[in-house]
C-alpha cells in the first residue's frame, strides 16, 4: 500500500486509482466522494422532483384526475423524505467533502475510510425506502413528519422506512463526525479558526447539529417500530403514552434539521457574495456568532410546529417568544450580505445572480416564518398551504438555490471547464421567475383556507392551484436545463478552460490550486499565507 500524502512528494498530483470499482466503490479521496455525493443528490432531486410533478399534476384542477388519494399521500410523504434526506442533505455533504479540505489546506478528510462508508450507505438506504412503493399497502403515507397513530396504520412499509431512516442517520452522523474531526484537527498551520472561510464555519456548526439530533430522530422512529410491531405504548393513550410525545421528539429533531439544511447554504452564499462584490465579507465575526446563535436557538423552539396540539398556555407563550428570536441572528446575516454588496464593485455572473435571488426569496420565506411564529395567528396558518409556501421559499430558494449556485461557483474548479455563462443565465431567469409562479400563489391559497396534504380541493382554490402547477412544470423543466449545463461543462462542450483563480474577486485557498483541482491537493505541514485567505480577521 503506498502512501497517498507521501506520494505527492515525488509523483504527479493526479494519480487516481484505476478501474471503476477501485476508483468509485472503494475510494477514500475526498473529491471523489464529494462527486459521488453530488451525483447521488442530483439523482434524488430528480426523483423527488418527479414525485412533486405528479403532485402538481393532480392539483392542476379540482377533482381527482390521476391518482387515488392514498397514493397522493404516499407521493407527498416520499417527495419530502427524498428531497430532504436524499437531495439537499447529501448535496451539502458533497460540497463539504469537496471544499472543506481544500479550503483549510488539509490533505483529505480526517477519516477517509469512514467517509467512504458514509456515502455508500445512502444508495442502499434509499433503494430500500423507494422499494416500499411496490409493497402491499404502498409507501409511507403519513407525511414526512410520520405522526402516529396514522403512520402505524401503514402496511408493511413502516419497518422498511424506519430502518432506512436508521441507516440515513448512521450515514449523517459519520459524515458529521468526519467534518468536525477534519475542521478541528486538519487545518493547515496558520489557518486559525477565525481565518476559516464561512462555509467551513457553517458546516462545523451544522455537523454539531447533526450529531445532536439524528440520534434523537432514530430513537423516535424506533419507538414507532416497537409500538407497531412489539406492542409498546409510547404513543397510545390507553397505555399511558401520548401521540403528541412523538411530535415533541420529532420536532426536537425536525427544527434543527431545517437549519441543517440552511446553514451550509448561508455558508456558500457568504463565499459567493464577497467574490462578486469584490469586497471582504461584511461582519465576518458576527456572521460566525449569528450562525452559532441560530444553531443554539434551533434546539429550543421546536414546538412552534405544534401550536394547535393544545399545549399548556405557558408552553405556547414560551415557544412563540423563542421562535421570534431566531429572526435576530438571521437578520444579522441578511444585513451583512447586503452590506457586503454595498459600495462593492459588483458583477453579475451566474452564481451571483442566484445569490441575489436567494437573499430576496429567502427573506420572504423567513418573513412568513416569523408570521407563523406568532402563535395565535399560527392557529390559522397551521397545516395550510401558507406553510407549504413558507418552507419551499426557504428550502428551494434557500437550500436548493445554494446548491445550484455553489455548483456554478465551483464547477470550474472541479472540472477545469468554465460553464456557459449564457446558458447559466437562462437557467437562472427561467428558474427565478417560475419558482415564484410556483410558490407565491400558495400563500394566497393558504390564507384563503386550503389545507395541505389534500389531493383535491374545493373550486374556489382552482385558479391559484393552476398557476402553481404551471410554475411547477416550468421550474422542473428549468432543472432539466441545469442537468444539461452540468453535463456539458463536465465534458467541456461549448466551454472555455477555467483559470486557476476563475473569478476576478475570488479569495481563499481553493483558488490557489490548479483547475481542475488535482486528485491530491495539499500535503500537511504546509503553512497557508494570510494573503491567500479571504478572511484574516483583524479588528
Amino acid at each position: 500500500m503506498s502512501h497517498a500524502a507521501v506520494a505527492t512528494h515525488d509523483h504527479d498530483h493526479d494519480h487516481k486509482p484505476k478501474g471503476f470499482v477501485k476508483r468509485w466503490l472503494m475510494t477514500t479521496n475526498h473529491k471523489d466522494i464529494g462527486t459521488l455525493y453530488l451525483i447521488f443528490a442530483l439523482t434524488m432531486f430528480i426523483f423527488g422532483g418527479a414525485l412533486a410533478m405528479i403532485i402538481r399534476l393532480e392539483l392542476f384542477q379540482p377533482g381527482l384526475q390521476f391518482v387515488q388519494p392514498d397514493f397522493f399521500n404516499q407521493l407527498t410523504t416520499m417527495h419530502a423524505l427524498i428531497m430532504v434526506f436524499g437531495a439537499v442533505m447529501p448535496a451539502f455533504v458533497g460540497f463539504a467533502n469537496w471544499m472543506i479540505p481544500i479550503m483549510i489546506g488539509a490533505p483529505d478528510m480526517a477519516l477517509p475510510r469512514m467517509n467512504n462508508w458514509s456515502f455508500w450507505i445512502l444508495p442502499f438506504a434509499f433503494t430500500m425506502l423507494a422499494s416500499t412503493f411496490f409493497m402491499d399497502g404502498g409507501a409511507p403515507a403519513a407525511g414526512w413528519t410520520l405522526y402516529p397513530p396514522l403512520v402505524l396504520q401503514g402496511g408493511q412499509n413502516l419497518a422498511y422506512a424506519v430502518f432506512a431512516i436508521h441507516m440515513l442517520g448512521i450515514s449523517s452522523i459519520m459524515g458529521a463526525i468526519n467534518v468536525i474531526a477534519t475542521i478541528m484537527n486538519m487545518r493547515a498551520p496558520n489557518m486559525g479558526y477565525l481565518k476559516m472561510p464561512l462555509f467551513v464555519w457553517t458546516w462545523l456548526i451544522t455537523a454539531f447539529l447533526l450529531i445532536a439530533v439524528m440520534p434523537v430522530f432514530a430513537g423516535a422512529v424506533t419507538m414507532l417500530l416497537t409500538d407497531h410491531y412489539f406492542g409498546t405504548s409510547f404513543f397510545n393513550a390507553a397505555g399511558g403514552g401520548d401521540p403528541v410525545l412523538f411530535q415533541h421528539i420529532f420536532w426536537f429533531f425536525g427544527h434543527p434539521e431545517v437549519y441543517i439544511m440552511i446553514l451550509p447554504s448561508f455558508g456558500i452564499f457568504s463565499e459567493i457574495i464577497p467574490t462578486f462584490a469584490r469586497k471582504p465579507l461584511f461582519g465576518y465575526v458576527s456572521m460566525v456568532y449569528a450562525s452559532a446563535a441560530i444553531a443554539f436557538l434551533s434546539f429550543i423552539v421546536w414546538a412552534h410546529h405544534m401550536f394547535s396540539v393544545g399545549m399548556p398556555f405557558g408552553g405556547e407563550l414560551y415557544f412563540m417568544y423563542a421562535t421570534m428570536l431566531i429572526s435576530i441572528p438571521t437578520g444579522v446575516k441578511v444585513f451583512n450580505w447586503v452590506s457586503t454588496m454595498w459600495k462593492g464593485a459588483m458583477t453579475f455572473e451566474t452564481p451571483m445572480l442566484w445569490a441575489i435571488a436567494f437573499v430576496i426569496l429567502f427573506t420572504i420565506g423567513g418573513f412568513s416564518g416569523l408570521m407563523m411564529a406568532i402563535a395565535p395567528v399560527d392557529f390559522q396558518y397551521h397545516d395550510t398551504y401558507f406553510i407549504v409556501a413558507h418552507f419551499h421559499y426557504v428550502l428551494v430558494s434557500g437550500s436548493v438555490f445554494a446548491i445550484i449556485a455553489g455548483v456554478y461557483y465551483w464547477i470550474p474548479k472541479w472540472t477545469g471547464n468554465m460553464y456557459s455563462e449564457r446558458l447559466g443565465k437562462i437557467h437562472f431567469w427561467w428558474s427565478a421567475i417560475s419558482i415564484n409562479v410556483l410558490f407565491f400563489p400558495q400563500h394566497f391559497l393558504g390564507l384563503a383556507g386550503m389545507p395541505r396534504r389534500i389531493p383535491d380541493y374545493s373550486t374556489q382554490f382552482a385558479e391559484f392551484n393552476m398557476w402553481s402547477s404551471i410554475g411547477g412544470f416550468a421550474f422542473g423543466l428549468a432543472q432539466i436545463f441545469f442537468i444539461i449545463i452540468v453535463i456539458r461543462t463536465i465534458k467541456g462542450k461549448g466551454t472555455t478552460k477555467a483559470t486557476d483563480r476563475v473569478w476576478e474577486g475570488a479569495k481563499g485557498l481553493e483558488w490557489f490550486i490548479p483547475s481542475p483541482a488535482p486528485h491530491h491537493t495539499f500535503q500537511d505541514g504546509e503553512a497557508v499565507k494570510d494573503e491567500q485567505l479571504a478572511h484574516v480577521s483583524t479588528h
Binding site: M26, T182, M223, F230, G240
Partner: protein, 290 residues
C-alpha cells in the same frame, strides 16, 4: 509502506470494507423488516446473514487498522482524529439515550398526569378515562398488558449497579497500569472488568426472566413496560457491545499490542465503557428508584 511516513497524515488509498458493511447493514435491515412483517417466518435468516456480514466487516476493517497502527503508520495527528471520532460518536449515543429518557420524563410528568385529570387534562379524564388515577407506575387507563409487579431496585439492580461501578474502577486501574507499562497487571484487571461486565449481563437476563415469568412485567405492560424495557434493553445491548470490545482489547493486550504512550484503541473502549456506566446510573435512579 514507508517508515518515514510517520510525519505525514496517513491517508489510506482504498477502503474495501465500507461497501461490505453497507451490504451487511442492508441485509440486516431487509431481513428484520421482512421478518417483522411476516406472519409465518420463524427465524430471520436474512437478518442473521446480515449480522454475519457486519461482523466479518468489523473484524476485517479493524484488523487493517490495527495492523497499520502496530506498524506505526499513524502519527499523533491521526490519533487525534480517531479520538475526536470516538468522542463525538459517544456524544451521539448520549443523544440517543436522551431521547428515551426524555420520553420517560414526558410520560411521567405530562401525559400520565393529564390522563389522570391534572391541569389541562380535566376533560380528558372525565370524558374518556373516568376513574383513572394517573399515578406512576402505570400501564395506562386501558390497563394495557394487564396487572404487573415491579422489580425491587434494591436487589438485582443494586447488585448490578455495584458490579458496573466496580468494573469502571478495575478498568481505570488497568489503564493506569498500561501507562506505567505493567502489562501483566493490565491484563489481569482487564479480565476482571470483562468478568464484571459479563456478570452484569447475566443478572440483567435473570431480571428479565423474572419480570416476564413472575411479575407479568413485559414490553407490552403499557407505558411502564415500554419505557422500562426500551431503556434497559438498549443499555443492555450497549453493555454487550462494550464487553465484546473489552474482550478484544484484552486479547490485543495479550498479543502485545498497545504502548504506554499510545493506545488509542484501549482508551476508546474505556471511554465507551464509562459512558455505558453513566447511563446505567441514570437508569438506576430514574427507572428503578424514582
Amino acid at each position: 509502506m514507508s517508515n518515514t511516513s510517520n510525519d505525514q497524515y496517513y491517508v489510506p488509498h482504498l477502503a474495501r470494507w465500507p461497501i461490505v458493511g453497507s451490504i451487511g447493514m442492508t441485509l440486516t435491515a431487509v431481513g428484520a423488516a421482512t421478518f417483522m412483517n411476516s406472519e409465518t417466518a420463524t427465524t430471520p435468516v436474512l437478518m442473521y446473514l446480515g449480522f454475519a456480514v457486519i461482523i466479518f466487516m468489523v473484524f476485517g476493517w479493524f484488523a487493517e487498522v490495527i495492523k497499520e497502527s502496530e506498524n506505526n503508520v499513524y502519527n499523533a495527528q491521526v490519533d487525534t482524529s480517531f479520538r475526536m471520532g470516538m468522542v463525538w460518536f459517544i456524544f451521539s449515543e448520549v443523544m440517543f439515550f436522551a431521547c428515551f429518557f426524555g420520553a420517560l420524563w414526558y410520560v411521567r410528568n405530562m401525559s400520565v398526569p393529564w390522563l389522570g385529570g391534572e391541569g389541562t387534562g380535566l376533560f380528558t379524564n372525565s370524558e374518556l378515562w373516568a376513574g383513572y388515577e394517573g399515578v406512576w407506575p402505570t400501564n395506562g387507563p386501558g390497563d394495557i398488558g394487564g396487572k404487573f409487579e415491579l422489580i425491587d431496585p434494591y436487589h438485582l439492580p443494586l447488585v448490578n449497579t455495584i458490579l458496573l461501578m466496580a468494573s469502571s474502577i478495575t478498568l481505570t486501574i488497568a489503564h493506569h497500569a498500561l501507562v506505567d507499562g505493567a502489562r501483566k497487571k493490565v491484563i489481569g484487571w482487564l479480565i476482571a472488568t470483562v468478568v464484571l461486565g459479563a456478570a452484569f449481563l447475566f443478572f440483567q437476563v435473570e431480571e428479565y426472566i423474572e419480570a416476564y415469568q413472575h411479575l407479568d412485567l413485559t414490553l407490552r405492560s403499557g407505558i411502564y413496560g415500554s419505557t422500562f424495557f426500551m431503556l434497559t434493553g438498549f443499555h443492555g445491548m450497549h453493555v454487550t457491545l462494550g464487553a465484546i470490545m473489552l474482550t478484544v482489547i484484552t486479547i490485543r493486550m495479550i498479543r502485545g499490542h498497545f504502548k504506554p504512550e499510545s493506545h488509542f484503541g484501549f482508551e476508546a473502549v474505556a471511554w465507551y465503557w464509562h459512558f455505558v456506566d453513566v447511563v446505567w446510573l441514570g437508569l438506576f435512579i430514574f427507572v428503578y428508584i424514582i
